[in-house]
Structures are given as C-alpha cells and as structure tokens.
Subunit: 320 residues, 2 copies
C-alpha cells in the first residue's frame, strides 16, 4: 500500500490541516483522524481534528480524543487544507457549505462522489487506519505509542478484531508492528467488547427470550417496550442479529426491531451460500448475500410469517 | 523463539515419531500435533498423531484431522520417539505406562513434572502452535497451506483470536505469515465462534435469565435442570462467565454451575485491579487475579450469599 506521491508532496509543502471524520464517527474514523493529526503535528504542521459529533464514550480511551474540536469551532477554513478521512463525500461530514483552501480525501469506502482535489480511495483496504499507517510511514514519521493505539483501534474496529473476511496478511503485519510499539491487544479488545452498558445486556437477554427456531431459521424481535423496560437505546441492538447466527444449524437469522406501532425493521444474516439479499428484495429491501434487511408493517406474527414464506425453500436449496 | 539445537538434531537423526496431544484435546493441542506431523512427513520421517480422544466436531475442519489414530492402535512404541505436545506430564496424555524409545516434550504450560529426555517448555509462549511454527521453520521445512491452517487455529484458540493478554507482536507477525500462506481468518473465526449447538445457545438464554446484578457484581447460575431442558452438556457452559463481565459497570462476575444436589462449582471473573483469586481462596478455591474459582455446597441462595459476603468491600477497594 503506497500513498500517492502527489499526496505526500502536497502535505509536505503545506502547513495547516483540518482533519474531518464522518458524522457519527466510529473507531476507524476517529483513530485514523487522531493518528494523522499527531503525525502532522510531529513534523511541525498545524493540524486539528474537527467533528460534528462528540466522541462516543466507548472511544474516549483513544489518545488525544479530548483534543477533537467541535465543527462549530472551525475558523478560517479557506486558509486550511481539508483532509476528509473514512468517507469521501462532503455531506458525510456535514461540510457541504464550507470552502477550504484545498481538499484531500483518504478513504476505504466505495466512491460516493468525485469530491476532493487529491483522492486516495482504496475500497479493498480493510480500514482507513491501515492507509494512515502507510501514509505516516511514507512521510518519514516515527510511529509513537499514541499513534499506534489509534491506528490499531481503527484496524480492530473495521476487521472485527481480525475476524471479518477483510482481514489481510498486510493488516496482521501492521497490527504486529503496532503491538511492538506498545499497543496491548487485550486492552483494545476489552474497550471494544467488554464495554456493554447494563441496559444493553438486559436488552440482549430480552431478545434471546423472543427467539423462535424453525428448522434452519432463527427469528428474534425487539419491541419498544423492551427498550423501555431495560433503558436501552435502539442503537444498542446493533449486531444483535449476529447472536442467533452463531448456532451451527441455523442458515438464516432474522431480527425484527419495532420502529413504531406495527412497523418493523428487519435485519437478516445467513451462512455460506444462502442469499438473504434475494429474500430482502422480495420484501422490498436489499443488501448483501450474507447480510441484508427490509422494512415491514403488521403485527409481529404476520411479519414473521411473511418472512418465513419468502424463505420457503431457500434453506433447502443451499444444499444442506 | 529459537528451538533448542538438541531438539533439531535429534529430530533430524531419527525416523519414527509418535506425536501426542493431551486428553480432551483443544485447538492448540490438535493444530500443533497435526502441523508437526505434516512437517515431519514432508522430510521423509514416519510420523503419526495418536490421541486418546476423538477430534471434537468443532475441530473437524483441521487439515489431516481424520488421520489422527486412536491411542489404542499404537504399536511398538519402544521403537518410536514420543513428541508430547501442549502438555508436559505423561498422565495428561494417558501414556504413563507406555515405554518409548525416547521422549520429547514441546509445551507452553507451567511445568508439572520433569518428564522428557528433551524438554522445550516456554510458559511465556501464547500457544504451543507458535513454538511448532518456529520448529518447522528451523527444520528448514516450507510451511504449506495445511500446516498454516493448523498453526493459525492453534494460535487463534489460545489467544482468543488475538484478544487475550498473551497476544504478542510475534504471534501477530506469525499470524500474518500464515495468512499470506492461504489461511482465511474469517473461516477460522467462523469455525471457532459461529459454531454453537442450538442446545448451547438455549443454555446461554437460561443462564442470562438467572442473572442478578448487585452494584458491581453479576451472578448467574446453571442448574442440572437447565442442562436437561436444553439438552446441553456441562462443558457447553465453558466461558459463559465471560458474558456478564462484558457489562462495563461490573467488576466481578460469577457463574455457579450445579455439580450435584446443593453442590456448586463457581467461576469468577474480574476487571482490572479486582483480585478474584483472593476471594476464591477465602472460599477454599484459587486461581489468577482476574479468573478464579471455588466449590461450595448449599442451596443457590446460601451459596450466592457466601460469595457476596466474601466480596464485601472488594469492589470499593479497587478505586471505583
């Protein structure tokens, strides 16, 4: 992974950089922005990370996270070079109406726009953090312990701590180098995974109690009443559909989340060859082969039934 | 990590090796034994893995796992060199009464005995698989895709896929090298973690329903009745105590498993500075600072109460 020469020389020749992660920033956006900020500051640049949103509690351990400035504090953008990280369209950082001196985009998502005077976009990179690692190295900056922790976290978040299919040999080599610079993998894992609120945990319990297993399909639901009872927020249920798919006899897992009286947002997961994108499309939704979703109205029993009917024959056709 | 010269030269000068993992073999024992077997065969040695137990279903994906022979099939051990892997005392492989030509021990556990003519024991190594990797390299053997998958799995199992505190930079470098030889990290992660039986999943549901949270302590239990209802086996509850410790306000998590009428085996986990080994010792058990256990008799309420009394003041003394 080699950063473009134009990017390197532009950074070297300029002095003032405003680094922006996307709105609702995750670990990759924050870790990437913070590591880059530290690296630029270390070679005498003025660099500031601005964010529309505050740092989520679970990421408050990231070095220098407290130095992130609110977007509303930004002054004189026309004199600064924008570096947009972990997204590639200005609306993803809510900066559509801001005029910068020059714009740089560093991202690993599919292109959403042609924004950016210099664009370094690698959809095959498992994380923006990995690109930032190679950028910092190419700038000749020694990676400090603080930068290492920010980059490691970025990489860990976007690869599910080296469990997702985007985990490459290169990302593990980089992780090893970052650990040799002082990152403790168990510390990061604890912050990312052993960091549930009690409300979220109780919500999981309620969701598991709703589970209904029919042959190779598992269906769960989360109602607004459950949220109320546990004090959990709707976003606490993120990734909960990954629990029933752990069962080795299950080919399709579905989680219905109540969005209003008799309105549901369903997430689907599947194993192997079972294509839930096709199921979701039948029901007006969409997605990828093993992860898709749709919206449906009706009571929970009717909604479940609609899903089961759409699934008919799908499990069997996967060849067992 | 450099294997001893005596080990290398002994292997080179001999021809027939019986490789033995410990009883109830886990991923590290099996992956290590299988990778070593392939490596020795590739340099013209006769090498066979023998095991008292069959390979657990979850590890049937390990290359060459089907070639593992039952211990009862072993012939002429007095003509073969024993290589004991992932344990260091003969009783751990149930071979106390067997006489071998020569004995080699390769392990990363604390020493239990002085068994072995050549002993390579590194308690600081995160996995025996890591030692096997360096042994195979030192023997001048090219690591194949099959060996890589066996070693990666060994390493993944014993580091919790790079989440435990034993995860070193070296282990990540080796993981990267193994991935470059064809291992797909998501495949291994799926086999290790998305491979629950329905019974185990239902047991988790029951355990979560038993949860009682008192300030910074979470207590769960699993009764024989729950095992009966769900069809789960006692070993299915392994690591279940790691669920309540995910809650970020919990300092101590305890899981009581019923071993007989009014008899319980309790597992304790703690966060940070809270020392559950001391609590377990008070109750006649023992363990490490963040993971310990004890046995207790009495009904569940009395047993819980005994634990809570032993905990008194522990949470507070940790400094919040």
């Amino acid at each position: 992974m080699i950063p473009p020469e134009t990017l390197l020389s532009y950074i070297k020749e300029n002095d003032k950089f405003y680094i922006l992660p996307h709105v609702f920033p995750d670990g990759d956006a924050l870790g990437s922005a913070l590591a880059l900020e530290s690296a630029l500051c270390s070679i005498g640049k003025k660099a500031i990370v601005f964010s529309r949103d505050t740092v989520p509690d679970m990421f408050d351990f990231l070095p220098e996270a407290r130095r992130i400035a609110p977007l509303s504090d930004m002054t004189c953008p026309e004199q600064a070079v924008l570096i947009l990280v972990d997204c590639n369209a200005p609306n993803r950082a809510e900066i559509e109406r801001i005029k910068f001196k020059y714009t740089i985009v560093i991202d690993h998502h599919e292109t959403e726009s042609s924004f950016g005077d210099i664009r370094w976009i690698l959809p095959k990179s498992p994380a923006t953090g990995l690109m930032i690692y190679f950028l910092i190295k190419a700038l000749g900056v020694e990676i400090t312990g603080a930068m290492a922790l920010n980059i490691y976290t970025a990489l860990a978040v976007d690869t599910g701590i080296f469990r997702y299919s985007n985990t490459t040999a290169e990302s593990l080599f980089v992780a090893a180098d970052l650990v040799s610079k002082g990152v403790r993998p168990s510390f990061v894992a604890d912050r990312l995974h052993n960091n549930w609120t009690e409300a979220r945990f109780l919500l999981l319990k309620h969701m598991l109690n709703s589970i209904e297993i029919q042959k190779d399909t598992a269906i769960c639901f989360i109602t607004n009443d459950m949220l109320k009872k546990t004090g959990a927020k709707p976003e606490d249920a993120e990734n909960f559909v990954n629990f029933p798919i752990m069962i080795n006899t299950i080919k399709v897992a579905a989680l219905f989340k109540e969005t209003g009286k008799d309105f549901w947002k369903a997430s689907l997961r599947s194993r192997g060859d079972v294509n839930v994108a096709k199921i979701a499309e039948k029901l007006g939704g969409g997605g990828h082969k093993n992860a898709a979703g749709f919206r449906i109205s009706g009571d929970i029993e009717t909604s479940k039934k609609a899903l089961l009917e759409s699934l008919d024959g799908v499990g069997e056709s996967s060849g067992g």
